[in-house]
Symmetry: C2
Subunit: 97 residues, 2 copies
């Protein structure tokens, strides 16, 4: 199994509608990208200060399947249209399980 994690933080003036658009856009991806085996996304619970605002955990059978997801046009469209306009910070790791 191969896992991709990305943690995102939003600009201070990001609206609830903009944040909801990110979640709605990402939720389309399992239907559009059959290589996605498991996809667990969501906003930070607000327990700890200094956290990022949103998490994406995506599991694949292989590194090659992750690359299909990474470069998929539907995914790239969500990044360009919903994520980038409100993005303040990003941290990522891919690792083998």
């Amino acid at each position: 199994m191969f896992r991709h994690i990305v943690l995102l933080s939003w600009v201070e003036d990001a609206t609830e509608a903009q944040k909801a658009a990110v979640e709605a856009g990402l939720k389309q991806l399992p239907g559009a990208i059959p290589e996605l085996r498991r996809y667990e996304i969501g906003p930070d619970a607000g327990i700890n200060h200094g956290n990022h605002d949103f998490a994406v955990v995506a599991d694949f059978d292989s590194e090659e399947d992750y690359l299909v997801y990474r470069d998929h046009p539907t995914h790239q469209a969500v990044i360009a249209d919903a994520i980038k306009p409100i993005l303040a910070g990003r941290a990522a790791v891919q690792y083998r399980l």
Copy 2:
């Protein structure tokens, strides 16, 4: 289910032995903290530039169980003894699955 994610990056002069000590220390935690339901850790695969160096994904039955893990003395000892000496950056999210 309640998930904790932390992505860590290491200082440039961190040695392989120091990085291995982090992994060995964290691997003790499922045996020491019964609240941990799933624990999947590992170094970044090196595919993408700008990534953090190490990922920790910990799943719990509840937010309360995550707090037991967060504040557990065995966990805090790994942070103080193995992680902090080589820590360059940290990004975290907790979220509900």
